[in-house]
């Protein structure tokens, strides 16, 4: 697995053995392959880009070419043990609806986000007064796919609003990984560069 994707390893650790998994925005199937190898899951991916879909198909992975915003309705209630949405929610049109769909389809869901409340993002904006560009958020404002960025606290608020339970949170900063039962504390919104949430209905 790509060394820069520690989050994928952490997500793998949250997945139970021999379960049925849906990876929304599965890319070239890196996470699905790793879950298949390490956790013996029965996995399926959802991916929009043709080239990536073909890469998954060639690896023998089950993948459906589709869009997180419109095609999650494809799946019946609770049809997966776990649904994963890794670093994708900020690029969707309707994150609120997607979160509701994730916990409808999955008995649980794992969502990872880049934290817009991270101190470097705040410093970058307050110092220069321009849209922040960091390692995790490396696009210009006009060409970024990230149209719905949020902070860890924003995400926690939304979950509360739509009655989604946060079972566990893992917060990553450049040199630290911290786990919380339930929601993280307010400090994590300042020091965390990225967060992984285990949620359910």
């Amino acid at each position: 697995m790509n060394k820069n994707r520690t989050d994928l390893e952490l997500i793998t650790s949250l997945v139970d053995n021999n379960t049925r998994i849906l990876d929304v925005g599965c890319g070239n199937g890196e996470l699905l392959q790793s879950l298949k190898d390490k956790k013996n899951v029965k996995g399926q991916g959802l991916e929009l880009k043709q080239e990536r879909v073909n890469q998954c198909v060639s690896k023998g992975l089950s993948v459906i070419q589709g869009n997180a915003d419109s095609d999650l309705s494809l799946y019946p209630n609770q049809s997966f043990d776990c649904v994963i949405l890794s670093q994708t929610i900020q690029a969707t049109n309707n994150p609120r609806n997607i979160l509701i769909e994730l916990v409808r389809i999955g008995k649980k869901a794992i969502v990872s986000i880049p934290n817009f409340g991270f101190w470097k993002v705040r410093v970058s904006f307050t110092t220069y007064g321009k849209m922040p560009i960091t390692k995790k958020l490396s696009n210009n404002w006009y060409d970024t796919p990230n149209i719905h960025l949020c902070s860890i606290l924003d995400f926690v608020d939304l979950c509360r609003e739509i009655n989604i339970k946060i079972e566990k949170t893992i917060v990553l900063s450049s040199n630290n990984i911290k786990s919380y039962n339930g929601s993280p504390n307010n400090w994590s919104n300042f020091f965390g560069e990225e967060a992984i949430f285990l949620i359910k209905n």
């Binding site: 399926q44 043709q50 080239e51 073909n54 198909v57 060639s58 023998g60 089950s62 589709g66 494809l74």
Partner: protein, 377 residues
């Protein structure tokens, strides 16, 4: 129309055990004309069956002896191609009801000694698949590595997967549907009415009186052909360009290139296709409704299936649009099946699956290769 199809150079399998049909009657002497490519391996584990579409035939990847043209899927099947005949044993059979050697309306009815004509029983997609199953049993193949087909071929693939799940490892239904829609039926009805309105059809007895409803059949083909294309592909290929003239003629000749093209399509079709076969096969497609045949929902039909599926559709296909294919994906997925779905960006219409679409080729190659690795071929 060549009525000596039995002499077409290909393989034949004849079965005197009656084939029971969905309508309750039977075919007492079944002939299946087929072509095969590549070599069957020792374990008989590398066999792939490819099901052809309405106007297709068994000459999948070899020269068609009637038209002298390359096989209809020559670019997909062959040495080093996505369906690689160096690795796989590929079989393609003329469908039951067809007119290129398999039992159909032009065959001799053993009980009368004359051509069946309209006495041929109304067959269904599942009857076609049962006939192919007889061939597979005759070839002593227990497990097919894959069953592949587009359009009506895709319907047969779905029927194969529903009826013989333990005989196939993987299935690739392409640009198809689990049931014919009102629009699909409507276009077929236009074709059939054109054939039956031709005086040379003679109530279906044209062989006996030595005629062939070529006008009706070619109109049927012209209508159908338009449904296989798209507005974008028609505009790109023909636009409003005139055929061999500078100005419009103020008459009803083929002024436009598209008219001339369609007339050509119609005319060449009647040389290789039988009008009654066209009636029977379009009817089989119209009657196709997998849920009704199996008296279960799609999800229930494929629940707990071990078959690995790849479903492919094309964005510009309005005859069997992505939404129809997605319905199958949805049902398979709900039943927990191992299903992949590719929706190829293309403006070539329904015929895209037969044309140059590199992304589609890659998906096919990748999927079949992954299945063959799992099957240890």
């Amino acid at each position: 129309m060549n009525t000596d199809q039995n002499k077409l150079p290909c393989s034949y399998f004849t079965d005197t055990k009656p084939l029971l049909l969905e309508n309750g009657t039977s075919i007492d002497e079944l002939t299946v004309a087929y072509e095969s490519y590549g070599k069957l391996n020792k374990n008989k584990s590398n066999a792939i069956i490819i099901c052809h579409a309405l106007s297709g035939d068994q000459f999948l990847a070899s020269k068609n002896p009637l038209t002298n043209k390359n096989g209809w899927w020559n670019r997909m099947v062959g040495s080093g191609k996505p369906i690689d005949t160096d690795k796989y044993f590929v079989i393609c059979a003329n469908v039951l009801g067809g007119c290129l050697g398999s039992t159909g309306p032009t065959s001799i009815n053993p009980s009368t000694g004359e051509e069946y004509g309209l006495n041929f029983p109304v067959i269904t997609i599942s009857d076609m698949v049962n006939a192919q199953m007889r061939l597979i049993q005759h070839l002593e193949i227990d497990k097919l590595l894959s069953v592949i087909g587009g359009s009506m071929g895709g319907m047969q693939v779905l029927e194969w997967a529903a009826s013989y799940p333990s005989n196939i490892l993987s299935a690739i239904p392409i640009a198809t549907s689990s049931k014919h829609t009102a629009q699909n039926i409507a276009f077929h009805e236009l074709g059939r009415q054109a054939i039956m309105a031709d005086p040379d059809w003679n109530g279906g007895n044209y062989i006996k009186v030595g005629s062939h409803p070529t006008k009706g059949l070619s109109i049927a083909r012209m209508t159908a052909h338009v449904t296989y294309l798209s507005e974008a592909s028609l505009t790109k290929k023909f636009g409003r360009r005139l055929q061999d003239k500078e100005e419009i003629s103020f008459g009803f000749d083929a002024d436009f290139q598209i008219e001339s093209y369609l007339r050509h399509q119609g005319l060449t079709f009647v040389d290789r296709f039988d009008a009654n076969s066209y009636l029977y096969i379009t009817r089989a497609m119209d009657y196709f409704d997998l849920e009704k045949t199996h008296k279960k929902s799609l999800t229930e039909i494929f629940e707990k299936t071990n078959i690995k599926f790849l479903i492919a559709s094309f964005t510009g296909d309005w005859l069997y649009p992505p939404s129809e294919n997605l319905m199958i994906v949805r049902a398979l997925s709900a039943g927990g099946a191992d299903v992949s779905f590719v929706n190829i960006e293309s403006d070539k219409g329904h015929d895209a699956f037969l044309l140059e679409e590199p992304e589609f080729d890659d998906a096919m190659r990748g999927f079949i290769n992954s299945v063959s690795i799992e099957a240890k071929i």
